[in-house]
Amino acid sequence: MNQYTERIYNGIIKENPCLILMLGMCPTLAVTTSAINGLGMGLSTLAVLIFSNLIISVMRNVIPDQVRLPAYIVIVASLVTVVDLLLQGYVPSLYSSLGIYIPLIVVNCIILGRAEAYAAKNPPLLSAFDGLGMGAGFTIALTLIGLAREFLGSGYAFGVRILPGSVEPIGIFIKAPGAFLIIAIIIAIMNAANISTAANKKVESCDGCCASCAGPCHDTADKEGTK
């Protein structure tokens, strides 16, 4: 396995951002009401992640260390705006069902986390592959969670009816509480299967910063404070 495929394997299996590192919980909970929504959100994040990793890696020697986080945020926000406008123009139905969560990709911990942890230290092509792997891992996780919620909650899968009409689906799974329920069940299963995740503290998720979304801003705050 060369280092490029290793990056993709790492993103999808070993350090799956959603299931193992437990990053980006907001979109994971919010948009997984159906498999299509999960897939759309995953692919949008994937696109942003590849290009943000690529651009940040190309510019890693140009951006001064003190202002790197604001610089990253501007790069990511620009890319998110591009994705936002593209979705609005070409897939209006997905755009309206994902709504506010598209611009909120900016504050997704995965993106700044990868920029800081990987793209800032590695060459461009490898960083782009890291973005691809992480994005693919996020997309797969979101699609599967969306599929599970859609199936349990409405009896559909990718908009196609699977359960016969006589079977009553468990409606709560596509409502807000269902999001918390399904993630709780997934983490419990992973705990029972003894898989190391950020939830059971066996894996360092970017120094634990993202668990409380504190990392990047603590850094800037410290820097501002010492100026």
Partner: protein
């Protein structure tokens, strides 16, 4: 939506569309900083402070800078930078003027920059075409809803710690289950006829 009454906005943002339990914004800090009632209440206070101000500032910038220049599509970039700068300024201002408040809220302020709820409210206000007053009230209401949710969860977690929970559910899963039950309870507010 532009002439909705202010009371309606407060109740909708704080309870019916609770920012954490039905919109899923600010989940990181909701799960991360809810171990004790005291700390979560302080975080809530800091969020109320920042969100109210940032909603107002974001609204002014959008109405008087972005719209006249025809740059509405830059809202995401402008808002995230404004919020980050604003949090820094609030922090410095509090440090100078009221050390007591700074001592209580200071360490939570940086946490808020990346709190997606703050950006989320600013963007929702624009979508709803709220006026300045309505935006400020919406920001305040949302933050109150966040505070209620996080303090309630912290209360539940303080009790959970003393219970014997099946091993696989210890830690994050049981907290998420508690959040799910709270979310079910908050769904009840959806039935309010306003």
């Amino acid at each position: 939506m532009s002439n909705t009454s202010l009371l309606f906005i407060i109740i909708t943002t704080a309870f019916v569309n609770n920012v954490v339990l039905s919109q899923f914004l600010g989940i990181c800090s909701f799960l991360g900083v809810s171990k004790q009632i005291k700390t979560s209440a302080s975080l809530g206070a800091a969020v109320i402070f920042v969100m109210t101000i940032s909603s107002g500032v974001a609204n002014l910038l959008y109405d008087y800078l972005l719209v006249p220049l025809g740059l509405e599509y830059l809202e995401t970039i402008v808002f995230i930078l404004v919020i980050a700068a604003l949090v820094q300024m609030v922090e410095m201002f509090l440090k100078k003027t009221s050390p007591a408040i700074y001592k209580a809220l200071g360490i939570y302020l940086p946490l808020i920059t990346t709190n997606c709820a703050v950006l989320g409210v600013a963007l929702t206000n624009v979508q709803n075409e709220y006026t300045f007053t309505q935006s400020v009230i919406a920001g305040f209401g949302t933050a109150v809803g966040y505070t209620i949710a996080i303090v309630l969860l912290a209360g539940i977690r303080e009790r959970i710690d003393e219970e014997s929970i099946p091993a696989p559910f210890r830690g994050a899963p049981v907290v998420l289950l508690a959040a799910a039950l709270m979310s079910i309870a908050f769904m009840g507010f959806g039935g309010l006829s306003l």
